[in-house]
Protein backbone atom coordinates (compact mmCIF):
# COMPACT_ATOMS: atom_id res chain seq x y z
CA UNK A 1 0.00 0.00 0.00
CA UNK A 2 2.79 2.39 0.99
CA UNK A 3 6.22 1.90 -0.48
CA UNK A 4 9.07 4.21 0.48
CA UNK A 5 12.28 3.68 -1.47
CA UNK A 6 15.73 5.13 -0.83
CA UNK A 7 14.18 8.24 0.60
CA UNK A 8 16.40 11.13 1.63
CA UNK A 9 15.30 14.46 3.06
CA UNK A 10 16.72 17.18 5.18
CA UNK A 11 16.28 20.67 6.48
CA UNK A 12 18.22 23.20 4.46
CA UNK A 13 21.48 21.46 3.73
CA UNK A 14 21.45 19.09 6.67
CA UNK A 15 20.53 15.62 5.53
CA UNK A 16 18.32 13.94 8.09
CA UNK A 17 17.04 10.87 6.28
CA UNK A 18 19.61 8.82 4.46
CA UNK A 19 18.10 6.51 1.90
CA UNK A 20 15.48 4.86 4.00
CA UNK A 21 13.14 2.24 2.58
CA UNK A 22 10.02 0.80 4.15
CA UNK A 23 6.70 -0.68 3.17
CA UNK A 24 3.30 -0.89 4.77
CA UNK A 25 0.73 -3.38 3.47
CA UNK A 26 -3.01 -3.05 3.66
CA UNK A 27 -4.45 -3.90 7.07
CA UNK A 28 -1.15 -3.78 8.96
CA UNK A 29 0.07 -1.82 11.93
CA UNK A 30 3.70 -1.04 11.23
CA UNK A 31 5.81 0.78 13.77
CA UNK A 32 8.91 2.86 13.35
CA UNK A 33 10.91 3.08 16.57
CA UNK A 34 14.09 4.87 17.48
CA UNK A 35 15.45 7.33 20.02
CA UNK A 36 15.31 11.13 20.01
CA UNK A 37 16.17 12.97 16.85
CA UNK A 38 16.85 10.02 14.56
CA UNK A 39 14.33 11.22 11.98
CA UNK A 40 11.04 9.49 12.74
CA UNK A 41 8.96 12.64 12.61
CA UNK A 42 10.83 13.73 9.52
CA UNK A 43 9.86 10.46 7.83
CA UNK A 44 6.17 10.99 8.52
CA UNK A 45 6.29 14.63 7.47
CA UNK A 46 7.84 13.62 4.19
CA UNK A 47 5.23 10.96 3.54
CA UNK A 48 2.39 13.40 4.19
CA UNK A 49 3.92 15.98 1.89
CA UNK A 50 4.93 18.59 4.45
CA UNK A 51 8.56 18.08 3.45
CA UNK A 52 9.95 17.43 -0.01
CA UNK A 53 12.21 14.46 -0.55
CA UNK A 54 15.61 15.23 -2.03
CA UNK A 55 16.05 11.71 -3.27
CA UNK A 56 14.05 8.51 -3.59
CA UNK A 57 10.35 7.95 -3.98
CA UNK A 58 7.13 7.40 -2.06
CA UNK A 59 4.38 5.34 -3.64
CA UNK A 60 0.89 5.08 -2.22
CA UNK A 61 -1.43 2.56 -3.85
CA UNK A 62 0.97 2.46 -6.81
CA UNK A 63 0.85 6.22 -7.29
CA UNK A 64 3.99 8.31 -6.91
CA UNK A 65 3.22 10.90 -4.22
CA UNK A 66 6.74 12.18 -3.55
CA UNK A 67 5.92 15.62 -4.89
CA UNK A 68 2.23 15.89 -4.16
CA UNK A 69 1.24 18.78 -1.82
CA UNK A 70 -0.13 17.85 1.63
CA UNK A 71 -3.74 18.83 0.98
CA UNK A 72 -3.85 16.50 -2.04
CA UNK A 73 -2.29 13.66 -0.09
CA UNK A 74 -5.17 13.79 2.39
CA UNK A 75 -7.57 13.42 -0.50
CA UNK A 76 -5.69 10.34 -1.64
CA UNK A 77 -6.34 8.73 1.73
CA UNK A 78 -3.39 9.41 4.03
CA UNK A 79 -4.09 11.18 7.29
CA UNK A 80 -1.38 12.42 9.64
CA UNK A 81 -1.70 12.86 13.39
CA UNK A 82 1.31 15.05 14.08
CA UNK A 83 3.62 14.93 17.05
CA UNK A 84 2.29 17.21 19.76
CA UNK A 85 -1.17 16.68 18.30
CA UNK A 86 -1.71 20.14 16.69
CA UNK A 87 -5.39 20.37 17.39
CA UNK A 88 -7.09 23.71 16.71
CA UNK A 89 -7.08 25.08 20.27
CA UNK A 90 -9.72 27.80 20.06
CA UNK A 91 -12.24 25.78 18.09
CA UNK A 92 -14.67 23.37 19.70
CA UNK A 93 -14.28 19.61 19.67
CA UNK A 94 -17.05 19.37 17.12
CA UNK A 95 -15.48 21.98 14.84
CA UNK A 96 -12.13 20.23 15.04
CA UNK A 97 -13.76 17.01 13.91
CA UNK A 98 -15.68 18.75 11.14
CA UNK A 99 -12.48 20.24 9.77
CA UNK A 100 -11.07 16.72 9.78
CA UNK A 101 -13.67 15.85 7.14
CA UNK A 102 -12.80 18.92 5.10
CA UNK A 103 -11.94 17.11 1.90
CA UNK A 104 -15.18 15.16 1.87
CA UNK A 105 -18.53 16.16 0.46
CA UNK A 106 -20.71 13.16 1.36
CA UNK A 107 -22.65 14.69 4.25
CA UNK A 108 -24.50 11.57 5.27
CA UNK A 109 -21.34 9.50 5.43
CA UNK A 110 -19.59 12.27 7.35
CA UNK A 111 -22.40 12.16 9.91
CA UNK A 112 -21.98 8.42 10.23
CA UNK A 113 -18.26 8.76 10.75
CA UNK A 114 -18.86 11.47 13.31
CA UNK A 115 -21.08 9.08 15.26
CA UNK A 116 -18.49 6.38 14.93
CA UNK A 117 -15.74 8.63 16.29
CA UNK A 118 -18.03 9.52 19.18
CA UNK A 119 -18.48 5.84 19.89
CA UNK A 120 -14.76 5.17 19.79
CA UNK A 121 -14.12 8.16 22.07
CA UNK A 122 -17.05 8.48 24.49
CA UNK A 123 -15.02 11.05 26.45
CA UNK A 124 -15.19 13.39 23.48
CA UNK A 125 -18.89 12.83 22.96
CA UNK A 126 -19.54 14.48 26.30
CA UNK A 127 -17.43 17.47 25.35
CA UNK A 128 -18.48 18.35 21.83
CA UNK A 129 -18.88 22.05 22.56
CA UNK A 130 -15.79 22.43 24.73
CA UNK A 131 -12.92 24.40 23.21
CA UNK A 132 -10.23 21.94 22.28
CA UNK A 133 -7.43 23.88 23.99
CA UNK A 134 -9.03 23.18 27.36
CA UNK A 135 -9.10 19.39 26.93
CA UNK A 136 -6.69 17.24 28.90
CA UNK A 137 -3.62 15.88 27.14
CA UNK A 138 -5.18 12.46 26.67
CA UNK A 139 -8.41 13.93 25.36
CA UNK A 140 -6.46 16.10 22.95
CA UNK A 141 -4.69 13.04 21.62
CA UNK A 142 -8.05 11.32 21.18
CA UNK A 143 -9.35 14.38 19.38
CA UNK A 144 -6.32 14.44 17.10
CA UNK A 145 -6.86 10.80 16.19
CA UNK A 146 -10.60 11.31 15.81
CA UNK A 147 -10.02 14.31 13.58
CA UNK A 148 -7.70 12.29 11.38
CA UNK A 149 -10.27 9.49 11.16
CA UNK A 150 -12.89 11.97 9.95
CA UNK A 151 -11.16 12.09 6.57
CA UNK A 152 -11.77 8.33 6.35
CA UNK A 153 -8.13 7.56 5.68
CA UNK A 154 -6.89 4.30 4.29
CA UNK A 155 -3.55 4.92 5.94
CA UNK A 156 -3.19 6.65 9.28
CA UNK A 157 0.19 8.11 10.25
CA UNK A 158 0.54 8.43 14.03
CA UNK A 159 3.45 10.37 15.51
CA UNK A 160 4.13 9.48 19.14
CA UNK A 161 0.62 9.16 20.44
CA UNK A 162 2.05 8.30 23.87
CA UNK A 163 3.88 11.58 24.25
CA UNK A 164 3.33 13.28 27.59
CA UNK A 165 0.55 10.96 28.69
CA UNK A 166 0.19 8.95 31.90
CA UNK A 167 0.85 5.20 31.45
CA UNK A 168 -2.79 4.26 31.94
CA UNK A 169 -3.95 6.78 29.38
CA UNK A 170 -1.31 5.47 26.97
CA UNK A 171 -2.71 1.94 27.35
CA UNK A 172 -6.18 3.27 26.55
CA UNK A 173 -4.98 5.10 23.46
CA UNK A 174 -3.18 2.03 22.16
CA UNK A 175 -6.26 -0.13 22.68
CA UNK A 176 -8.11 2.38 20.52
CA UNK A 177 -5.37 2.27 17.89
CA UNK A 178 -5.79 -1.50 17.67
CA UNK A 179 -9.54 -1.13 17.44
CA UNK A 180 -9.23 1.44 14.63
CA UNK A 181 -6.97 -0.98 12.80
CA UNK A 182 -9.42 -3.87 13.30
CA UNK A 183 -12.08 -1.71 11.69
CA UNK A 184 -9.97 -1.54 8.57
CA UNK A 185 -7.50 1.37 8.76
CA UNK A 186 -3.87 0.66 8.01
CA UNK A 187 -1.49 2.33 10.46
CA UNK A 188 2.09 3.53 10.43
CA UNK A 189 2.99 4.27 14.02
CA UNK A 190 6.05 6.23 15.13
CA UNK A 191 7.03 5.71 18.75
CA UNK A 192 9.81 6.17 21.25
CA UNK A 193 8.00 3.87 23.63
CA UNK A 194 9.23 0.72 21.89
CA UNK A 195 7.66 -1.64 24.39
CA UNK A 196 4.07 -0.65 23.75
CA UNK A 197 4.65 0.04 20.06
CA UNK A 198 6.00 -3.43 19.40
CA UNK A 199 3.23 -5.03 21.41
CA UNK A 200 0.65 -3.18 19.31
CA UNK A 201 2.18 -3.53 15.86
CA UNK A 202 2.49 -6.45 13.46
CA UNK A 203 5.85 -5.40 12.08
CA UNK A 204 8.50 -2.90 13.03
CA UNK A 205 11.44 -0.90 11.74
CA UNK A 206 14.24 0.36 13.94
CA UNK A 207 15.80 3.66 13.02
CA UNK A 208 19.15 5.10 14.00
CA UNK A 209 20.42 8.51 12.84
CA UNK A 210 18.55 8.69 9.59
CA UNK A 211 18.92 5.02 8.63
CA UNK A 212 16.83 1.96 9.12
CA UNK A 213 19.00 -0.62 10.83
CA UNK A 214 16.54 -3.43 11.49
CA UNK A 215 13.21 -4.63 10.25
CA UNK A 216 11.28 -7.66 11.33
CA UNK A 217 8.01 -8.85 12.77
CA UNK A 218 7.09 -7.18 16.04
CA UNK A 219 7.51 -10.40 18.05
CA UNK A 220 10.96 -10.99 16.62
CA UNK A 221 12.02 -7.44 17.42
CA UNK A 222 10.76 -7.84 20.99
CA UNK A 223 13.10 -10.85 21.31
CA UNK A 224 16.01 -9.20 19.50
CA UNK A 225 19.00 -8.61 21.83
CA UNK A 226 19.99 -5.35 20.24
CA UNK A 227 16.47 -3.98 20.56
CA UNK A 228 16.12 -5.24 24.11
CA UNK A 229 19.31 -3.52 25.17
CA UNK A 230 18.83 -0.25 23.36
CA UNK A 231 15.09 0.32 23.48
CA UNK A 232 13.49 -1.92 26.05
CA UNK A 233 15.98 -1.13 28.80
CA UNK A 234 16.85 -4.72 29.62
Amino acid sequence: MLRVENLSTGYNSIRVLKQISLTVSEGEIVTLIGSNGVGKTTTLRTISGLLRPTEGSIHFCNKDISHVPPHKIVELGISHVPEGRNIFPRLSVRENLEIGAYTRKDRLEIKKDFKKVMEIFPQLAKRQKQTAGTLSGGEQQMLAIGRALMSRPRLLLLDEPSMGLAPLVVLGIFEIIKEVNRQGTTILLVEQNAQIALRTAHRGYVMETGRIILDDSAEALLQNDQVRKAYLGE
Partner: protein, 290 residues
Protein backbone atom coordinates in the same frame (compact mmCIF):
# COMPACT_ATOMS: atom_id res chain seq x y z
CA UNK B 1 -29.34 66.28 9.96
CA UNK B 2 -26.55 68.43 11.29
CA UNK B 3 -23.69 68.20 8.80
CA UNK B 4 -21.16 67.53 11.51
CA UNK B 5 -23.01 64.52 12.84
CA UNK B 6 -23.69 63.27 9.35
CA UNK B 7 -20.00 63.37 8.58
CA UNK B 8 -19.25 61.54 11.80
CA UNK B 9 -21.78 58.84 10.95
CA UNK B 10 -20.38 58.43 7.47
CA UNK B 11 -16.85 58.12 8.82
CA UNK B 12 -18.01 55.54 11.30
CA UNK B 13 -19.64 53.60 8.48
CA UNK B 14 -16.51 53.67 6.32
CA UNK B 15 -14.38 52.66 9.28
CA UNK B 16 -16.71 49.77 10.04
CA UNK B 17 -16.20 48.53 6.49
CA UNK B 18 -12.44 48.92 6.85
CA UNK B 19 -12.18 47.32 10.27
CA UNK B 20 -14.45 44.38 9.55
CA UNK B 21 -12.69 43.55 6.29
CA UNK B 22 -9.33 43.74 8.05
CA UNK B 23 -10.79 41.55 10.75
CA UNK B 24 -11.33 38.82 8.18
CA UNK B 25 -7.61 38.86 7.38
CA UNK B 26 -6.19 39.32 10.86
CA UNK B 27 -8.86 38.12 13.25
CA UNK B 28 -10.23 35.14 11.37
CA UNK B 29 -7.28 34.02 9.28
CA UNK B 30 -4.47 35.19 11.55
CA UNK B 31 -2.47 37.01 8.88
CA UNK B 32 -0.99 40.22 10.25
CA UNK B 33 -1.47 42.72 7.44
CA UNK B 34 -0.24 46.28 7.89
CA UNK B 35 -1.22 47.48 4.44
CA UNK B 36 -4.98 47.78 4.62
CA UNK B 37 -4.97 51.52 3.92
CA UNK B 38 -3.11 50.87 0.67
CA UNK B 39 -6.02 48.77 -0.62
CA UNK B 40 -8.32 51.56 0.46
CA UNK B 41 -6.27 54.03 -1.56
CA UNK B 42 -6.40 51.77 -4.63
CA UNK B 43 -10.18 51.74 -4.36
CA UNK B 44 -10.32 55.47 -3.69
CA UNK B 45 -8.12 56.50 -6.62
CA UNK B 46 -9.58 54.04 -9.08
CA UNK B 47 -13.19 54.92 -8.35
CA UNK B 48 -12.42 58.64 -8.24
CA UNK B 49 -10.75 58.49 -11.64
CA UNK B 50 -13.66 56.47 -12.95
CA UNK B 51 -16.25 59.09 -12.01
CA UNK B 52 -14.02 62.09 -12.61
CA UNK B 53 -12.35 61.17 -15.90
CA UNK B 54 -14.62 58.50 -17.36
CA UNK B 55 -17.89 59.86 -16.05
CA UNK B 56 -19.01 56.44 -14.88
CA UNK B 57 -21.95 56.16 -12.48
CA UNK B 58 -20.97 55.98 -8.83
CA UNK B 59 -22.05 52.38 -8.27
CA UNK B 60 -19.96 51.15 -11.19
CA UNK B 61 -17.00 53.24 -10.07
CA UNK B 62 -17.18 51.78 -6.57
CA UNK B 63 -17.26 48.28 -7.98
CA UNK B 64 -14.32 48.88 -10.30
CA UNK B 65 -12.32 50.38 -7.43
CA UNK B 66 -13.08 47.37 -5.27
CA UNK B 67 -12.16 44.92 -8.02
CA UNK B 68 -8.85 46.66 -8.68
CA UNK B 69 -8.06 46.61 -4.95
CA UNK B 70 -8.98 42.92 -4.81
CA UNK B 71 -6.75 42.10 -7.79
CA UNK B 72 -3.85 43.83 -6.08
CA UNK B 73 -4.72 41.93 -2.93
CA UNK B 74 -4.46 38.65 -4.80
CA UNK B 75 -1.31 39.55 -6.71
CA UNK B 76 0.40 40.83 -3.57
CA UNK B 77 -1.02 38.09 -1.39
CA UNK B 78 0.21 35.20 -3.48
CA UNK B 79 3.92 35.71 -2.76
CA UNK B 80 3.78 37.56 0.56
CA UNK B 81 1.36 35.22 2.29
CA UNK B 82 4.03 32.53 2.15
CA UNK B 83 5.72 34.63 4.79
CA UNK B 84 4.77 34.26 8.43
CA UNK B 85 4.13 36.68 11.28
CA UNK B 86 6.65 39.49 11.42
CA UNK B 87 7.81 38.98 7.87
CA UNK B 88 4.30 39.19 6.48
CA UNK B 89 3.71 42.34 8.52
CA UNK B 90 6.86 43.93 7.11
CA UNK B 91 6.06 42.89 3.54
CA UNK B 92 2.54 44.33 3.68
CA UNK B 93 3.88 47.47 5.28
CA UNK B 94 6.38 47.79 2.46
CA UNK B 95 3.64 47.23 -0.09
CA UNK B 96 1.60 50.04 1.49
CA UNK B 97 4.50 52.44 1.29
CA UNK B 98 5.17 51.52 -2.34
CA UNK B 99 1.56 52.21 -3.28
CA UNK B 100 1.69 55.55 -1.49
CA UNK B 101 4.91 56.57 -3.21
CA UNK B 102 3.64 55.51 -6.61
CA UNK B 103 0.52 57.63 -6.16
CA UNK B 104 2.70 60.53 -5.03
CA UNK B 105 4.57 60.34 -8.31
CA UNK B 106 1.91 59.51 -10.86
CA UNK B 107 0.55 62.33 -12.96
CA UNK B 108 -2.86 60.85 -13.47
CA UNK B 109 -3.49 60.73 -9.71
CA UNK B 110 -2.43 64.33 -9.23
CA UNK B 111 0.86 63.34 -7.64
CA UNK B 112 1.74 65.19 -4.46
CA UNK B 113 -1.06 67.70 -5.05
CA UNK B 114 -3.67 65.00 -4.62
CA UNK B 115 -6.83 64.46 -6.58
CA UNK B 116 -9.38 67.27 -6.39
CA UNK B 117 -12.91 67.91 -7.51
CA UNK B 118 -14.18 64.36 -7.12
CA UNK B 119 -17.98 64.47 -7.40
CA UNK B 120 -19.83 64.21 -4.11
CA UNK B 121 -21.72 60.98 -4.54
CA UNK B 122 -21.44 59.32 -1.17
CA UNK B 123 -24.39 59.86 1.10
CA UNK B 124 -25.84 58.28 4.18
CA UNK B 125 -27.89 55.79 2.21
CA UNK B 126 -24.93 54.49 0.21
CA UNK B 127 -22.88 54.11 3.35
CA UNK B 128 -25.52 52.33 5.36
CA UNK B 129 -26.30 49.97 2.48
CA UNK B 130 -22.67 49.12 1.92
CA UNK B 131 -22.03 48.60 5.62
CA UNK B 132 -24.90 46.15 5.66
CA UNK B 133 -23.76 44.40 2.49
CA UNK B 134 -20.22 44.13 3.81
CA UNK B 135 -21.39 42.78 7.15
CA UNK B 136 -23.71 40.32 5.48
CA UNK B 137 -21.09 39.09 3.00
CA UNK B 138 -18.37 38.70 5.61
CA UNK B 139 -20.78 36.93 7.92
CA UNK B 140 -21.69 34.49 5.17
CA UNK B 141 -18.04 33.79 4.43
CA UNK B 142 -17.13 33.27 8.06
CA UNK B 143 -19.91 30.77 8.62
CA UNK B 144 -19.24 28.81 5.46
CA UNK B 145 -16.82 26.02 4.62
CA UNK B 146 -14.35 28.69 3.58
CA UNK B 147 -14.67 30.31 6.99
CA UNK B 148 -13.88 26.99 8.64
CA UNK B 149 -10.76 26.71 6.54
CA UNK B 150 -9.70 30.24 7.47
CA UNK B 151 -10.16 29.52 11.18
CA UNK B 152 -8.19 26.31 10.86
CA UNK B 153 -5.34 28.20 9.16
CA UNK B 154 -5.37 30.79 11.94
CA UNK B 155 -5.24 28.11 14.60
CA UNK B 156 -2.51 26.00 13.05
CA UNK B 157 -1.50 26.28 9.46
CA UNK B 158 0.44 23.04 9.24
CA UNK B 159 -2.38 21.09 10.83
CA UNK B 160 -4.83 22.77 8.47
CA UNK B 161 -2.75 21.60 5.51
CA UNK B 162 -2.72 18.12 6.95
CA UNK B 163 -6.51 18.24 7.01
CA UNK B 164 -6.55 18.83 3.28
CA UNK B 165 -6.90 22.61 3.37
CA UNK B 166 -4.93 24.40 0.66
CA UNK B 167 -3.68 27.21 2.84
CA UNK B 168 -2.10 29.28 0.07
CA UNK B 169 -5.39 29.32 -1.80
CA UNK B 170 -7.50 30.31 1.17
CA UNK B 171 -5.09 32.90 2.52
CA UNK B 172 -4.93 34.57 -0.88
CA UNK B 173 -8.69 34.40 -1.23
CA UNK B 174 -9.21 36.05 2.15
CA UNK B 175 -6.65 38.70 1.32
CA UNK B 176 -8.48 39.44 -1.93
CA UNK B 177 -11.86 39.68 -0.21
CA UNK B 178 -10.40 41.94 2.50
CA UNK B 179 -8.89 44.19 -0.16
CA UNK B 180 -12.17 44.25 -2.09
CA UNK B 181 -14.08 45.74 0.82
CA UNK B 182 -11.22 48.07 1.67
CA UNK B 183 -11.54 49.28 -1.94
CA UNK B 184 -15.25 49.98 -1.35
CA UNK B 185 -14.35 51.91 1.79
CA UNK B 186 -11.86 53.93 -0.25
CA UNK B 187 -14.44 54.72 -2.94
CA UNK B 188 -16.93 55.95 -0.36
CA UNK B 189 -14.25 58.03 1.29
CA UNK B 190 -13.13 59.66 -1.94
CA UNK B 191 -16.66 60.60 -2.98
CA UNK B 192 -17.49 62.05 0.40
CA UNK B 193 -14.46 64.25 1.03
CA UNK B 194 -14.03 64.97 -2.68
CA UNK B 195 -10.30 65.27 -2.24
CA UNK B 196 -7.75 62.51 -1.74
CA UNK B 197 -4.04 62.59 -1.19
CA UNK B 198 -1.61 59.66 -1.00
CA UNK B 199 -0.84 60.50 2.61
CA UNK B 200 -4.50 60.08 3.53
CA UNK B 201 -3.84 56.36 3.22
CA UNK B 202 -0.49 55.95 4.89
CA UNK B 203 0.97 53.43 7.26
CA UNK B 204 -0.58 55.12 10.27
CA UNK B 205 -4.04 54.69 8.79
CA UNK B 206 -3.42 50.98 8.45
CA UNK B 207 -2.42 50.99 12.10
CA UNK B 208 -5.64 52.82 12.99
CA UNK B 209 -7.72 50.07 11.40
CA UNK B 210 -5.66 47.48 13.15
CA UNK B 211 -6.29 49.24 16.46
CA UNK B 212 -10.02 49.19 15.80
CA UNK B 213 -9.97 45.46 15.22
CA UNK B 214 -7.77 44.75 18.21
CA UNK B 215 -9.79 47.01 20.49
CA UNK B 216 -13.09 45.48 19.46
CA UNK B 217 -11.81 41.93 19.60
CA UNK B 218 -9.99 39.96 16.94
CA UNK B 219 -12.18 37.43 15.24
CA UNK B 220 -15.49 38.94 16.32
CA UNK B 221 -17.83 40.60 13.83
CA UNK B 222 -19.41 42.99 16.31
CA UNK B 223 -16.03 43.69 17.83
CA UNK B 224 -14.85 45.35 14.64
CA UNK B 225 -18.02 47.45 14.58
CA UNK B 226 -17.55 48.59 18.16
CA UNK B 227 -13.84 49.20 17.67
CA UNK B 228 -14.51 51.29 14.56
CA UNK B 229 -17.23 53.26 16.36
CA UNK B 230 -15.18 53.97 19.45
CA UNK B 231 -12.00 54.90 17.65
CA UNK B 232 -13.89 57.25 15.36
CA UNK B 233 -15.86 58.96 18.12
CA UNK B 234 -13.19 59.23 20.81
CA UNK B 235 -10.71 61.20 18.69
CA UNK B 236 -13.59 63.48 17.66
CA UNK B 237 -14.46 64.18 21.26
CA UNK B 238 -10.85 65.03 21.90
CA UNK B 239 -10.50 67.32 18.95
CA UNK B 240 -8.53 69.96 20.78
CA UNK B 241 -5.77 67.48 21.33
CA UNK B 242 -5.95 65.91 17.88
CA UNK B 243 -2.18 65.74 17.70
CA UNK B 244 -2.21 63.31 20.55
CA UNK B 245 -4.38 60.83 18.71
CA UNK B 246 -1.65 58.29 18.24
CA UNK B 247 -0.65 58.64 21.83
CA UNK B 248 -4.22 57.85 22.76
CA UNK B 249 -4.18 54.78 20.53
CA UNK B 250 -0.99 53.65 22.20
CA UNK B 251 -2.47 54.13 25.64
CA UNK B 252 -5.69 52.36 24.68
CA UNK B 253 -3.70 49.39 23.38
CA UNK B 254 -1.53 49.19 26.47
CA UNK B 255 -4.54 49.36 28.77
CA UNK B 256 -6.33 46.72 26.74
CA UNK B 257 -3.29 44.48 26.81
CA UNK B 258 -3.23 44.58 30.59
CA UNK B 259 -6.94 44.50 31.25
CA UNK B 260 -8.53 42.58 28.40
CA UNK B 261 -6.01 41.23 25.92
CA UNK B 262 -8.64 39.56 23.76
CA UNK B 263 -10.36 42.89 23.00
CA UNK B 264 -13.79 44.05 24.10
CA UNK B 265 -15.70 41.19 22.50
CA UNK B 266 -12.87 38.83 21.64
CA UNK B 267 -12.96 35.22 22.68
CA UNK B 268 -10.73 34.42 25.61
CA UNK B 269 -8.91 31.13 25.67
CA UNK B 270 -5.71 30.37 27.46
CA UNK B 271 -3.52 30.10 24.41
CA UNK B 272 -5.07 32.81 22.28
CA UNK B 273 -3.97 35.67 24.52
CA UNK B 274 -0.50 34.55 23.73
CA UNK B 275 -0.85 35.32 20.03
CA UNK B 276 -2.71 38.50 20.81
CA UNK B 277 -0.03 39.89 23.05
CA UNK B 278 2.40 39.06 20.27
CA UNK B 279 0.34 41.26 17.97
CA UNK B 280 0.36 44.08 20.49
CA UNK B 281 4.08 43.87 20.83
CA UNK B 282 4.53 44.01 17.08
CA UNK B 283 2.14 46.90 16.70
CA UNK B 284 3.62 48.89 19.55
CA UNK B 285 7.11 48.16 18.33
CA UNK B 286 6.21 49.50 14.93
CA UNK B 287 4.58 52.62 16.28
CA UNK B 288 7.64 53.27 18.40
CA UNK B 289 9.95 52.87 15.44
CA UNK B 290 8.23 55.59 13.49
Amino acid sequence: MNVYYLQLLILIGINIIMASSLNLVIGYTGQLSLGHAAFMSLGAYTSALATLRLGLPFGAALLIGAVVAALFGIVIGLPTLQLKGDYLAIATLGFGEIVRIVFLNLDITGGAVGLRGIPKETDFLWVICLVLITGFALNRIIHSRVGRALLAIREDETAAESMGINSTYYKTLCFGVGAFFAGIGGGLFAHWFRYIHPNTFGFLNSIEYLCMVVLGGLGNMWGAVIGAGLLTIIPELLRQIADLRLLIYGIVLIIMMRVRPQGILGQSQGKSTHTLSRYYKQILGKIKNR
